[in-house]
């Protein structure tokens, strides 16, 4: 277990781990600033003794303003296009900004800044500018009937959408799945000299708890991880789906099917090697993705394997996504929306009869 390599380890939630990453990096580098709506909260009310009232809508930035002050921790008005643009300009001129877009559902309000500005600057300017920008955003649907942390938020506050970011050349897109890799990927993103988008699952934010080294460390961007070795089928999972696949794998093991679970971790640039190498051993692939199916990362990964490892395959590649519909509100419908272990299990079993 990686965490073991490093001396002191403590239990943190996914969100606490990100908070620790942000704090440690801001201590290290005074050019790091962080902006977003209510990331501190109560901005301008310091004179009344109110500051850091929110710490971000999911509390990942809690306490940062009290340590680093309002000049480096900036609450913003509701102006996604404006403040993400300000972050882009700041990244071109000496700062290393971290912006929080409250929910990935809101990227439609600043999409140009992400895909035309941040992603292309370095290339279209002939390499003369770096763009050390981190964009953090919460995504995902809860699906278990509970109405918090991605549950009961409806069609415009429950999306996954990362495929429309991964599609864009020049952008790095990471999707952590545990407290450990959330901290490590966040630190890697901050230290990257180009734009990196981090997608944080609302539900994992509080639900995923685990051992995290107290010191700063990097989990490399661009590398997938085999989180469960297995010989019979490769379950390639993104973000929260890693936990869904691990759960399915445990059940399958009881039926003597050993599933290998690959946690993709970085959508772009994708670690094809790890995935292809796994498939070459298991000869079967199922990609599990919380995003909707059309032009999704699940189908992207399936296509790459269909092109590069076709002869290794003993069975058709399967993909499991959310249905090709908006996210419904009713708990009874939302429950069928998010891919579930049962779906993974039956997809695997079909492959074996």
């Amino acid at each position: 277990m990686k965490a073991a390599d490093i001396a002191a380890v403590h239990e943190l939630t996914f969100n606490q781990a990100i908070n620790e990453a942000l704090r440690q990096e801001m201590r290290r580098d005074p050019t790091i600033v962080i902006m977003g709506e209510d990331i501190a909260g109560g901005a301008g009310l310091a004179h009344l003794g109110f500051v850091d009232s929110w710490g971000g809508s999911l509390r990942t930035t809690k306490g940062l303003i009290t340590e680093f002050g309002p000049e480096r921790v900036l609450d913003t008005p509701i102006s996604e296009m404006g403040f993400v643009g300000a972050a882009v300009g700041a990244a071109m001129s000496g700062l290393r900004p971290i912006v929080e877009i409250m929910f990935v559902d809101l990227i439609g309000c600043c999409y140009d800044q992400i895909i035309n500005q941040a992603a292309k600057m370095h290339y279209m300017m002939g390499g003369q500018v770096n763009l050390p920008l981190v964009i953090r955003t919460a995504y995902g649907t809860r699906g278990d009937g509970k109405r918090t942390y991605g549950g009961g938020a409806g069609a415009q506050h429950s999306q996954t959408l990362y495929s429309v970011l991964a599609h864009i050349p020049g952008l790095k897109v990471v999707v952590p799945s545990t407290a450990y890799n959330a901290k490590g990927l966040t630190i890697s993103a901050i230290r990257d000299d180009g734009p990196v988008v981090i997608l944080e699952h609302k539900f994992l934010g509080s639900a995923a708890k685990g051992p995290v080294p107290e010191d700063a460390y990097c989990v490399p961007i661009g590398r997938a991880e085999i989180v469960r070795p297995g010989s019979d089928v490769t379950l390639c999972a993104i973000g929260r789906m890693t936990h869904v696949c691990l759960e399915a794998a445990t059940t399958l093991a009881a039926q003597d099917i050993e599933a290998e679970v690959v946690d993709v971790l970085t959508l772009s640039p994708l670690d094809e090697t790890t995935i292809l190498e796994s498939v070459s051993r298991t000869r079967r692939l199922i990609v599990v993705d919380e995003d909707t199916p059309t032009a999704s990362m699940a189908r992207d990964i399936a296509a790459r394997v269909a092109e590069k490892a076709f002869d290794d395959l003993d069975a058709p590649i399967k993909t499991i996504n959310a249905p090709d519909t908006p996210v419904p509100f009713a708990a009874v419908l939302e429950a069928y929306y998010v891919p579930r272990p049962a779906q993974v299990i039956s997809a695997v079993l079909e492959m074996f009869d």
């Binding site: 209510d38 102006s79 809101l106 509970k146 938020a153």
Partner: protein, 327 residues
Amino acid sequence: MTCLRPSRDQLVWMYDRMTLIREFEERLKWLVETGVPVGAVHYYTGQEACAVGVCAALEPTDWIASTHRGHGHCIAKGVEVHRMMAELYGKVTGTNRGKGGSMHITDVSVGMLGVNPIVGMGVTHAVGAALSAKVRHTSQVAVAFFGEGAASFGAVHEAMNLAAIWKLPVVFVCENNRYSQSTPVEYAVADPEIANRAAAYRMPGLTADGQDVIAVWATATAAVHRARSGGGPSLIECKTYRYYGHHQGDDTRRYRAKEEEEAARARDCIKRFREQVLKDGSLRQEELDAIDKKNKEKLDLAVIFAEQSPLPDPAELYTDVYVTEGR
């Protein structure tokens, strides 16, 4: 302008709607606190005079577009509370068949174009409805409700400019409750007097006491008349306050002083309305109490309706993705 007086029927209607909104939110809050899973909700409590005062100036065929804090706007425009409650319960009898929830309640049959939780978007849709009225040569007016936090959002600027250059029959109603989540207007908006913004679009900018339903109604009446008669858009800023947190989980004491909250509650729109109409004798105590009672009963029935309504069939997950599919 406040020499303009509402009729007796209008006064009754105003009180009825304000108390119905208040009762809806209080009942909802109670349900939330007892653990009923209604999803993310943003209570309108405290701002009732804004929605009611504005909608009192509208015709049934007029349109409104709303925000995440939309229950009050819905009720003021005539959406039935039992169908709203059923929507929050995720029932197929809800306004949106349970597929929308609090943040998407819509009832176009009463001119309610939708609660919309992407800040500012409803404002652009109201402008589109006003364009529709103009092109189709109807006399309809569209109202865009938004918060002072939305005033910093680019699409709102674009919408106001479009409405102004096309002289559209739209009224922009900014409910300045002084906070965008935990961020105060003095911090987030360069000119916290939102009504001043109107000058940039050469449209009238009016300010109304958002705790005084009659003042809001009088101001809105003028703006609506201007819009309906081809005079183009106006911007109304209603100074108001939300009593509870941004959403059900938010503790306001993290960013608002007790004194400030108490001062706001002291100007409660329903309390003041009661005092005034009783003082000037325009309505009688019994009438008001009867309305209170009726609305409490309405909510009793709404909750029962919601509880007893059927859940959507799981197949509904796949219906209405494309219009052509129909149902």
